[in-house]
Symmetry: C2
Subunit: 300 residues, 2 copies
């Protein structure tokens, strides 16, 4: 009989009692299935973006608690339809897709920004004070401490009292020029590869994709340096980016996100840190910040 490979990850879904004398291992899915409704939250429509592509909708949660000025400007730009008929004009393999106005750097052609601000402060990090931080106990090479705040993966430095959003898969950042305060939130990028944590504390992260990553990550990579497309026909058209609060309720995407300060979340991370099932032969005993799943579900 030929070995089959369909079960590469299936085994993760099948929980098996690990040791007769220990509590039975529960898979991440079993833990989620048994979670109380109170462990889940919904998105605030006023801080949720819908990036509308021909292939579907990408849902982005903004992080105004980390980047209030950028979030406010993005809300203005969305309300004023800035992104209608713009494009994904860059896709660099193992790094980012970037979207907005492909002519942003050509003063003669750049789209007007309406009532949005044309200058914002850098919002790379913020004081830890006032944030509910759920620490991940695992070591991290990039930050003294890592964990989660309101569903976002973060780094933290006790010495300077700062916390910042981490560049994990799906992170949404505000493109900038060399000046730290040169981003305005009009040109956004999304991480589609190995987490480029070297960007942490160097760019303003404004949120993260909570649904629809596969619509961005499968974008054909741009042939020019850094993944740009000189040929406009190769860019992916963006129909619009809308605030969920501006979309009729019946057209919104209902989602529930697991609270990262819940016991369920900690249990899911532990189930992944030390997998006990038919497939895994050696539990890792560790999980990296950007490998922790941030569960999202569609309510029944």
């Amino acid at each position: 009989m030929r070995p089959t490979t369909r079960l590469l990850a299936c085994a993760l879904l099948a929980a098996l009692p690990a040791l007769a004398f220990a509590a039975p291992y529960r898979s991440a899915q079993q833990i989620l299935d048994a979670s109380p409704a109170s462990d889940w939250r919904t998105l605030d429509p006023a801080n949720t973006l819908y990036l509308e592509l021909a292939s579907g909708r990408v849902v982005i949660e903004l992080a105004p608690q980390f980047a209030p000025e950028h979030a406010a400007n993005i809300r203005t730009l969305a309300r004023e339809h800035f992104w209608d008929n713009t494009s994904i004009y860059r896709a660099q393999d193992n790094f980012v897709v970037q979207f907005g106005d492909a002519d942003a750097d050509d003063a003669a052609k750049a789209k007007p920004m309406g009532s949005a601000k044309t200058h914002l402060p850098a919002e790379f990090a913020r004081p830890s004070r006032g944030l509910a931080f759920s620490r991940l106990p695992d070591s991290d090479g990039w930050a003294k401490e890592v964990g989660f705040v309101d569903g976002f993966p973060v780094g933290r430095d006790g010495a300077n009292g700062q916390t910042w959003l981490a560049h994990c898969y799906g992170a949404v950042g505000a493109g900038r020029n060399n000046a730290p305060d040169s981003s305005v939130g009009a040109e956004l990028y999304v991480v589609i590869g190995q987490s480029p944590r070297q960007l942490d504390n160097n760019i303003t992260v404004v949120g993260r994709v909570v649904k629809g990553m596969e619509l961005l990550s499968a974008t054909p990579r741009g042939p020019e340096p850094m993944g740009f497309y000189e040929d406009a026909a190769q860019r992916t058209p963006i129909r619009a980016i809308k605030l969920a609060s501006e979309v009729p309720e019946g057209e919104r995407t209902p989602l529930q996100l697991l609270r990262t300060d819940s016991q369920t979340f900690r249990d899911v991370a532990e189930a992944r840190r030390n997998r006990v099932d038919d497939f895994y032969k050696r539990p890792a005993g560790h999980i990296d910040l950007c490998n922790v799943a941030l569960p999202v579900r569609t309510p029944k």
Copy 2:
């Protein structure tokens, strides 16, 4: 003037003297440009696979020093045209694409394996003895030590004397069933997302993609669980997987890979660990194993 965003990474390419009293910072590209020819190696055609897609060629370097039995079987399968007219039948976002015989688990339809072996030992790790290990000084949560052997990122454990290939972006592994020795090298997967290092020491890694990742990573994700496509028309056809040594020399892809035991390689890693340029405001002071670039170039 609207800030522009085209320079998100351009600054990496522009080296600037950092401090008047220190050695001038050199960018990774400048270091590569100044490297001696002896720091580069070519691929062994007998251990190089060409995965031929309609969109182009993916070049894979096999690692027989880590998985000799799998590499030998893969060479046999390639020589006997096993993969002609097979497909990429799975693309799971932020995880892997998988390819080979989509009917592998249907005994009635599975492709015959010719003279290839139908059973191989698990080759998850091997003794460190005999390997030239270039240690990366940075901390790692998944392994006691990490570094490079012959161009491959690896983990190492001094306590048990073992070294293993790490599941970084582009790693090629042999799909298996639950039994550790159930892979035969016919069904292969490639990491296309955040490095799933929990698979280290749990699956036989057989090599890595050295060119053409963007042809795999942009594969539309499969709609079924784990990224499979029930609809065969959605799969990406594979024309063939050939050994480079079986391809006429004029049709081979000439490549040079930076030796990971060279000073140039260490210098490039350091240039990325502590970036000093107009763009970066805060050097990371760290680099993760799977963030270290493995430079490849086409000879002039």
